[in-house]
Amino acid sequence: MLLTKRTLRVSYSMALVALMVSLAACGGEEDTVTTETGDDVAATGDTGDTGSGLSGNVLVDGSSTVFPISEAMAEEFMAVNPDVRVTVGVSGSGGGFKKFCAGETDISNASRPIKQEEIDLCAENGIEFIELPVAFDGISVITNPENDWAMCLTTDELRTMWEAAAQGTITSWNQIRADFPDEPLGLFGPGTDSGTYDYFGEAIIGAAGTRGDYTASEDDNVIVQGVASDPNGLGFLGYAYYAENQDTLALVEIDNGNGCVAPSPETIADGSYQPLSRPEFFYVKTTSLENPAVRAFIEFQIANENKELINEVGYVPVTDEITERAAKRLEAGTTGSVYEGGSPVGVSLKDVL
């Protein structure tokens, strides 16, 4: 009896402390996006002006990669339209589309184009959508700063390293290239639900999929932590996470047959960082556009004047030309995906929009 009583007391105190900590955590979670609302929004002209009398709810969900953009936009938007509630969720690109095609959300964020089966699901439920490219990210291959051999890797070498056939067999650096040291290969990457994982697999390996015996985490900070603490580590993640952790990580240049190129805002923007540059999208439901709050918010998000926010969170906004075409699609109500469910790898947005 003594035993159970004691255990009970211990678990009570544990629960109490846990509660206190979670409360503290909630309080501490303040958004840190810098506010320079006034001028910015005044400059957006009609989108900003409609704000005054606007009210309603805007439901956004989807990719964790695009989340920082929507979060920053929502904060600025709500500052001028205090009666509009914009809720931004994070379910991953795939999870976002599941809700979107079930009609539960107005806008779905994605770090990859919508897939054919998702298009079918939307069609089944009578959901029509407009696809709006908003920014570019370069998936960055990173190593430990102590790594002095893997400065540049070819896409073939990346495939050797990550393909499913490598599972359990490719475990040492010198299996990648003969003059690499005989050191264990420590691999880190996003998990299978991530749009980053999907895009990397498609661009580097193709349909076959990657190996499974690496440290897979949906939390990009785990990848940063893992590579930063393992001299033989290698991982891949969105450029924003490299940019945030430059002092503890080294960037690997990628050779796609045209020489070594490192990801940077410039090489991502001009398309020379291939094949790992990828567009990021908003998908908006056409029926939701009848709600003035949703229309105002989506126009706000793609307005040229608000692109600085995208730079701020670490991505490269699409060019003004592409924005203009996207705005036209929105204006004209052009539905469907320009990728038609196919792979975005190697497709230039300028050509297809």
């Binding site: 004691r6 255990t7 105190s13 991953g92 499913a164 599972q167 998990g191 499974g212 015996d213 580590g233």
Partner: protein
């Protein structure tokens, strides 16, 4: 209520208390309390049934033989393999390291608190020990990842950022209060007459503790250790944060490994469609976890029954 009390001018022959109402009230109270007691039983039954059904479905798709003999665990990937021992080996490793730390330290702390410490010291040390038990495991996890690992890396050059060693050590610290506190209760409750008897025979304090007190408290100590082992096996945050999430078979404590609980976390954090094989695999892992702790608890139950010493 007043109707149930004797009137002011009662005489014992006339007043009949309303026994029927009291009976009904008693029955109602019994039912209500019974229902609440049933909640925990039903919850347990629900959990076990869910585990059984989903695990059964899992084994429709994956042969039990593969589950037990494969040397790889990659249910989410293209080349899906289901070797549960990859995860079990990691769990065994972190738990063993934890117990290797928690058992000697906890037991010695318990002996000190019960046998050597004065009442004042005891009064201060015991609550301090229990505060340690109140530290949330996520805090322990980051402590392992950001403090213990870098310190260990200073001494062990080959140690990776995520590893079983530091996760196991911190896991040991987290279950230490459990071992110490429960063992201390067991040791403390050994009757003073036994110690006095031992002293009367001329035994020293050390001899008394080792030969009389500890054997008398053995069943309680073993129960505390098994409870701690169960807790270490099921502990999630520390191993997920600090041991890494790399499924690999073997007992090398210096590299990232993935425990059973870490795998369940990995799958539940993502967006896994219900009914898919990845989704079912977390139930198979959960079932394995459940069976392991069940066996441990049964063993502990049997051990306590068999070896419990009853005094007075």
């Amino acid at each position: 209520m007043t109707s149930n009390l004797p009137p002011a001018n009662y005489s014992t022959d006339l007043w009949q208390p309303n026994r029927a109402l009291a009976k009904n009230t008693e029955l109602l109270v019994k039912l209500v309390f019974g229902a609440f007691a049933l909640v925990s039983v039903l919850t347990t039954a629900g959990i076990v049934l869910t585990l059984i059904f989903e695990t059964f479905e899992f084994f429709q798709a994956v042969p039990l033989w593969n589950f037990l003999t494969d040397t790889q665990w990659t249910p989410l990937f293209a080349d899906a393999q289901f070797g549960i021992f990859v995860l079990i080996s990691a769990t065994i490793m972190t738990t063993t390291i934890a117990i290797l730390l928690a058992l000697p330290v906890g037991l010695m702390a318990a002996i000190y608190l019960s046998e050597y410490a004065g009442p004042k010291t005891r009064k201060r040390l015991k609550p301090a020990l229990e505060i340690l038990a109140g530290v949330p495991s996520v805090v322990f996890g980051y402590f392992a990842l950001l403090t213990v690992t870098p310190v260990l890396q200073f001494f062990i050059p080959g140690l990776q950022g995520f590893n079983a060693l530091s996760a196991g050590l911190v896991l040991g610290i987290s279950i230490l209060p459990l071992v110490a506190s429960l063992s201390e209760d067991a040791i403390y409750s050994v009757p003073a007459s036994m110690r006095e008897g031992s002293y009367a025979l001329g035994a020293t304090k050390r001899e008394t503790i080792v030969s009389v007190v500890l054997p008398a408290a053995l069943s309680g100590i073993v129960a505390s250790v098994i409870l701690a082992v169960s807790r270490a096996i099921g502990e999630t945050m520390i191993v997920t944060l600090a041991a890494g999430q790399n499924p690999r078979l073997g007992f090398n404590p210096l590299v990232p490994v993935m425990t059973m609980t870490a795998f369940i976390v990995q799958v539940s954090l993502g967006d896994t469609p219900a009914g898919s094989i990845a989704y079912l695999s977390i139930f198979a892992v959960g079932m394995t976890l459940f069976l392991i702790t069940l066996v441990l608890n049964l063993f502990s139950f049997w051990f306590v029954r068999k070896f419990q010493e009853k005094y007075e």
